[in-house]
Every structure is written in structure tokens, then in C-alpha cells.
């Protein structure tokens, strides 16, 4: 019950923060985002409006490193709707480091043809309004989105998040068997749930891959999960 209280309080925190911030937010994408209430905590899984999101970045430090691309897709009624899929490459200053390019495969040429950060973040916030953000390993997306908002709007919004890594970790922690942290990687978890190999390190592909993993995890449960059991 303590856990229940803690989560409930933390969620009250999101809604309270949202309402408070709405009063001071500048007109524009952030204000529109904040004007939509988040889903209630007791929402059953099938009714949670989810946006699966993935970022590709030049590194792990949200302040020093740059956001390269954003991919996202809606998960509605336990279905991943490809019609809603969104993928954008961001035009950033400076050239890319060669070893990084091999991971995310976004070349300088592609990057130079990309869109301004402001446009992409505006698109993302519009899609995210009123939804829960789904990511695998929340730190990157949370920090980079936060940083981008600070730069663009002078404030960072509250973000209710489902992190498949944390959901899977909680399940593994409950079992008595020791596990290797590498088992929590997206590809490893997908394999565990018999999901097909996917082409990683493309933001949209990873977003879809994460959404598929969440569907698989939920399907395995005897009882459907609710938002409060999933939320970070």
C-alpha cells in the first residue's frame, strides 16, 4: 500500500506541476501540451493513450550532446498504429563524430537537410499531449526532451513515463534468480518475448520495437496491468 501511496502522490505531482506550469507557460507548443490532462492512474492498460518515443543522440550528456532524430508512434487500444508514426532528423550545428555515425547511421548530409529543433519538438509535444510517454531506458529521452524544452521555452514540463526497462527489471527483481544487466537491453528483452529481430538505432524503429515489447509484456500478465503499475 505504501507503494500505492507513493505512486499516487508522485502522480498528483505530475498533474499539480502541469496545472501550475500551465499558468506561466508561454503561448505555443508547450502551453498546448500542458493544457491537456494526463491519463488517470487507475486507467486500465488497454485504455491508456501511449506514445512510444525514441531519440538518437550524439552522446549521453543532454547538455553537451545533441539530439539527432526523433521517432514516435501511437499505441491505442493495445495496437500500434503505424499511420501515426513520425520520424524526423534534426538539423544541428557542427559535424558528427565518425564512430557515432556507425551507430545511428545518420550522416552529415542527412543531418544538414534535417528540420530545426524547435519544429521537431513542437511536433513531438503535440503528439504527446494527454498521453503517457513510452521509452526503453527513460534517462536519455527524459533528459534530452527536458533540455530541449528549457532551451526553447525556458521551462521543462512534467512527463509521465512508462519505461519498459524498469518494468522488466521489476519483474526480474521479483524472481529469485540472478540476472545479467545485459538481459535488460531492448534486443535481449525482445528475444525473450519471441519478438522478431529488429533493425535498431533508428528512432522510429526503436519506438515501434519498444511498443511491441510493452504489448508482449502486458499479454504475458495474468491480469491486465494498469497505468499505476507501469508508470515510472
Amino acid at each position: 500500500m505504501l507503494e500505492h501511496h507513493f505512486l499516487f502522490r508522485s502522480f498528483i505531482g505530475y498533474e499539480a506541476q502541469r496545472k501550475r506550469m500551465l499558468k506561466s507557460a508561454p503561448a505555443g507548443p508547450l502551453r498546448t501540451f500542458l493544457s491537456q490532462p494526463f491519463p488517470a492512474l487507475d486507467t486500465p492498460f488497454e485504455d491508456i493513450e501511449i506514445l512510444a518515443v525514441d531519440f538518437e543522440t550524439t552522446g549521453l550528456d543532454a547538455v553537451k550532446d545533441k539530439l539527432l532524430s526523433v521517432g514516435c508512434v501511437d499505441v491505442t487500444q493495445q495496437q500500434i498504429k503505424l499511420a501515426s508514426s513520425y520520424h524526423a532528423i534534426i538539423h544541428t550545428q557542427g559535424s558528427l563524430q565518425a564512430d557515432n555515425v556507425t551507430i545511428h547511421q545518420i550522416t552529415d548530409d542527412q543531418k544538414d537537410q534535417g528540420q530545426p529543433l524547435a519544429d521537431v519538438i513542437a511536433q513531438l509535444l503535440e503528439r504527446l499531449a494527454g498521453k503517457v510517454m513510452l521509452v526503453h531506458f527513460a534517462r536519455i529521452e527524459r533528459q534530452f526532451l527536458r533540455q530541449a524544452c528549457l532551451e526553447l521555452y525556458g521551462m521543462a514540463p512534467p512527463l509521465p513515463i512508462i519505461d519498459t526497462l524498469v518494468v522488466a527489471k521489476k519483474m526480474l527483481d521479483k524472481s529469485a534468480v540472478a540476472y545479467d544487466p545485459s538481459q535488460l537491453r531492448l534486443a535481449a528483452l525482445r528475444a525473450k518475448y519471441h519478438l522478431p529481430d529488429h533493425y535498431a538505432h533508428n528512432a522510429l524503429n526503436d519506438a515501434i520495437a519498444t511498443a511491441e515489447l510493452l504489448l508482449a509484456i502486458n499479454a504475458e500478465r495474468q491480469q491486465a496491468l494498469s497505468l499505476q503499475q507501469l508508470i515510472l
Binding site: L82, S85, L195, N202, I208
Partner: protein, 613 residues
Amino acid sequence: MDSALTEISDFIHALPAMELLPSQIIEQVVKEISICYVRRGQVLPPRGVSEHNLYILRKGALSYASENDELLAKYGEGDICTVFCHEPQDNIKVCAEEDTLLYSIHYPTFHKIVKHYPDVLAFFQHTAEQRLSKKMLQVNEDAIVNSSLLNSTVEKFYHSPVVSVSSSTSIKQAAILMTEENFSCLVIVDQGQPLGIVTDKDIRRRCVAQGLATEQPVSAIMTDNMTTIDIKSTAYDALLIMTQQHIHHLPVMQNTKLVGMVTVTDLMNNEGQNAVNITSVIHKAKTVAELSEISHMIPKLQIRMAKLGTTADHVGKSISAITMAFTIRLIEMAEKLLGPAPVPFAWLAAGSQARQEQFVHSDQDNALIISNDLKPEHEYWFKDLATFVCDGLAACGFVYCPGNVMATNPKWCQTQAKWHQYFTQWIHNPEPKALMHCSIFFDLSTVYGDSHLLEQVREKMLKATQLSTLFIAHLTKNALNLRPPLGFFRDFVLIQDGENKATLDIKHNGIAPIVDLARIYALSEGIACVNTIERLKLAAGTPSLTRASAANLIAAYEFLSMLRMTHQANKLQQGQQPNNYLSPKELSKLEREHLKDAFKVIKTLQDSRQSTF
């Protein structure tokens, strides 16, 4: 589209049929995908999904099971599930065998996207058919076999006006009216409202047999609470009511008004339409494979006709007409393939098909008669024709003739001159082997081509047989080898060994002797017909056969054929190969008596033939 979806696009593009689509169409298709995950053991469609969706298996496995949980098929990665594309036509249960990742696409939307690619659409319809083939084939067959009953309303074939009388009319007046109008039933009406019905049977059972005075009002013997049928009902409904209630007449109502009457005979006549339906389907078939599929309908038709009480004569004619349609269609296909015939010819049916007494699963007996202009270089054309048609008939369930009486046999693929020669030889030198051929080749009819070729041969042949008493004597002697079971006065003589132990061969011991007798009468009297009943009717009153004997033989023949047909319909319905071996257990006491009577008639006439020579 976002290049990021290329992985999914590539997967879709590699699927069968989808490979025919250009990339931009694939992109549109991918946009319509919803990904869903189905846990092992869960049933499709996923909970909450009611739209008509196409499902593509991305990972995992699905199993299809019939209503009775019989496994129909299993599908895996890259397979497409079309079961839910349309309204469910079948009770196929689709279940995830493993945890399964599905790409679901709203089918009507998909249909719109690929509408300009008929090959792709055809593929999806085709796979649907394949998966449902077993069941659907049956549905289609039933649809055609039932079409005349299901598609026609009572409106189309009821009798009008119906003869009606008031309830105070005397039984005698009613009977007189029925006789005058030649109607087997009357409707009793008061102030326009039908009260009841009176049939021949009511007059017999409720009046005459009971000794009721014929001056009594007809209402005393009528059946009240009568069942009626609405004019807009289907013929099939009418049949159901009649079968369920064991009645033969149904007054037809329009709103509350009596407008006519429909009888079981009307339905039977209508049923004959089915043969016509099937024939028209045959005519439209483009390949032998299509014909072969259509041929599955024939046993069903025979069963239905038998169950409806259609006479064996009518069934035989219907089945023969259908066989003829198959043969004609095959010849047309062959001509398309081989080019036009080099010289005039005719395709001949022999034996039961020629006599129009064919039932399902009979052997094919056929021959070719060719104009005397035939040149040696033409022979290949006819050889190819014969092979194509005989193989085609075999594909349609008409087994090759065990005695090789087929157009593929060079002996029976001959010029008119040669056929003249054959008949002359058979008539003048009636050796045992020649006589064996007689039962087949003296019953010939033209199926296709120039009918004059056969008519000229027959004309000459009949002249010869009428004059050749020696030939007729030999033919009679040969025919008398087939005798109805001796000792049938006590009990039947049954086949004593083998698979058909303790059965009666109704064809060889009952029907064939009558067919043989009819042929002998026809050949001695120069009658050109080949159908047994027609031969007997035409021979009636000639020196060969008295009218009374002809009537007896026809009755015996119809009764035996009816027994055989019912027996075969039961076999067919049980999914067995129809045969001619009747077990006495199948017969009621009355039928046994009738059977003895039939045999007595045959024996009497066989004996009289014997004494003639």
C-alpha cells in the same frame, strides 16, 4: 514515407502477391498497419476488434480449426490470414499457437488501396478460397442444386384459379366438380375465407370407406386447420412444409386471400430445372478442372431427385442430359485446341447413356462415326479428340469403360462404311462375341455432330434385323441367360459369396432383362428409339408384344428402377459408392411382394419369347 518504416515495408513487399505492387502502394499499405500481439492460446480476432481485418503473421503461429476442433491448417511467419476479411462464412476458429505478432490491416481499406491491381486482389480472394475450399465448394454446389427451389417463389408456379366450393356443397357435387375440372383437390370457402381442403383421398377414406352418404356437406370430410403458404415464400419453404406435414397440397395465400394452390408435382417439375441449371454451368466452364468440380454436383442432384420422389425415368433422363452436356463441352474444348474437324463426324453415346437411363458413376460407353471422306492423315485429329474427351470424362467421374467400348479404341472410331459393315456382320453372323456387342451398339445415340451419319446406319440396320429371324432368335437366347432369381416364389435367390453376400443384383437380375426384351422388340419391329420405356410403348400392340404385357413390363421396369435409385441415393448419402446390390433388409414387405410380381412379369415374357423360337 519515413525511411524508418523500410523494415516493415520490406517485409510486406516480400510477401506473395504483394511483390506485384509498386513501392508507393506498399507505403500506403504499411501506413494502414496496426501491430498487435496475441498471446499463445488466444483466439482471433483480438478482443474488441470487430472490423474486417487482414492479418499478416510477423512472428509466431496460428492454427485453424473446424467447428469440431479438427485441425485444418497451421500458418507461420509471412503467412496471411484472410478469415476475417469478410463476414464470417464459416465457423473456422483461429487461435494463436505461439505468442504471435500480427500486422492487421482494415480489409476494405486495403481493397481500396490495391483496387487497380486485379492480380493482387485475385490472390487474396484465391487464398481465401483455398483455405475455405472444402466448405465453400460444398456451399456452391448446394447453391446450384438448391437454386431452383430457393430462388423461385411460390408465385412462379402455383396453380390458379383454384377450384373452390362453399361448405354446404354436397360431397357428390364436389366429386363431380373435381372430375370435371380434373383436379385432385378442392378448397372449401365461406365468404372468401378458406375453411378447409378436400382431396381425392378424403373422399375415399372419409366418405366411401366410412359409408358416409354423398349427400352430406363436403365440410364433413374436409381437413380444416389447413396449412397455407404465402405467395412470396420460396419453393423450398413449400417443400419443407409438405415434407414435414406429409401433405401434397398447399393453398397459396396473398395477404388473406386465397389465390391458388401448389402441389408436390409442381415442385418436382420445378426440381427438374436443376438439371437445366447444371447444364448451363457446364456450358460456361472453361477448363476440364472446372468441369470436374461441377461433376461433384451430380450425385447430389440424384439424391435430391430420388428423395423428392422423382421417377427413375426422369432421373435417368436428367443425368444422361448432364453427361451429354459434359461430353459436348469437352468436344468444344478439344475443337478449340485441335482446330475444326477435317471431315464431318458424330460423337456417339452407347448403352445406358444412349438409352437415357444413366445414373451417377456409370462407365463411359462411347464411339465415333466419321464421314467416308476420311483420309489417313485425318486419323490423328480423331485420335486426339477421342483421347481428350475420354480423359476429360474420366476426370469428371465417368470411369473408363472396362470393356474398352470407347472412342479411343480404334475399333470404335470408324467411318460410316465400316459401321455399316459391322452391323451387317453382327446380324448375319451372330456369334457369341457379336451378340455381346449388340447390347451396347444397338443402343446408340448421337451426342454431338452430324446425326445423319448414325441415322443412315440405323435405318439400314433395322431393315436387316426385321428380316433376320435367325439374328433375333440368337439375341433372344442370349438375353434369356439373364433370368430373374428362380425360386422367388418362396424367397429370393441371393448372391451367395463375396463382398455382396446375401444380396440381390437388381440390375442384372431385374432391370437388364427388361432392357434386353425391349431391345429385342424394337429390333424385330424396326423401332428406332433406344429408351426402354419408349421402346416398350412403341412395341405395344405389335405382333411382338401385347398392350397388356407392355404395360406390365413398363410398371415392372419403373418399380425396379425406383428401388435401384432409392438404394443408390441411400448409398450416396452415406458417402459410399453406389451399387446394384440390394439387401432384402432394405425392402418393406410390400416392396418384396411388388418385387416378386415384377419378376413374375419378366419371367412370363421371357418364357413367351423362348416359346416363339
